[in-house]
Symmetry: C2
Subunit: 114 residues, 2 copies
């Protein structure tokens, strides 16, 4: 048990990972390293051991597909993209996120720190 800011930050990040990844992939087809780089840009640090299993889960759930593409600098890459079902799912996650943001806003409204 380790209740510090870093840990809580990690907890919060976990909750939105799926959503952010699907959202990134909905805008443009990418392979995992691209996704990690994009997330890093947004200050969401994610490592391989987190991303790969998650992508696999999303694929198994029918939200993602991928195609192999050759690379000039190493092994071939898996380029992921949303399926129609994935797009539908993403729309629901948009609402879910908005609801959560509303909920947080509501519970923190009278927070003296603000």
């Amino acid at each position: 048990m380790n209740l510090n800011v870093e840990n809580t930050k990690a907890q919060m990040r976990k909750g939105v990972l799926e959503y952010c990844i699907l959202s990134l992939l909905s805008a443009e087809e990418m392979y995992p390293s691209d996704v990690i780089a994009k997330l890093k840009d947004a200050k969401l640090i994610v490592v391989e051991g987190t991303l790969y299993p998650l992508l696999t889960r999303l694929k198994d759930a029918g939200y993602l597909t991928y195609r192999w593409e050759e690379s000039r600098s190493g092994p071939p890459r898996k380029y992921y993209q949303l399926t129609p079902v994935g797009r539908k799912f993403l729309k629901e996650l948009d609402d879910t996120w908005d609801e959560l943001a509303q909920a947080v806003k509501k519970t923190t409204r009278n927070n003296p720190a603000r």
Copy 2:
């Protein structure tokens, strides 16, 4: 493994629980059932088995204290309140939340669903 909206919603909720609870308690002293009710108002469903251990962790970490108070309709209640350290921690969580919201906004900016 069960990748549906309900599950993802639960995941997101997990991430902000600590924050919301501390925030509620910073505004006013409460006992667990009050907290559950307030969270429910904000559409954040939390059950006893989640809240009690979390409050204990927050107390053990030095962020909360409690005092017993008699009740007219049952056993005495533990009224929780933030410690000075808890207030400091909460301030940091405010920043953490803002950062996360920014990050999500950034990754979802080009999401066609929006």
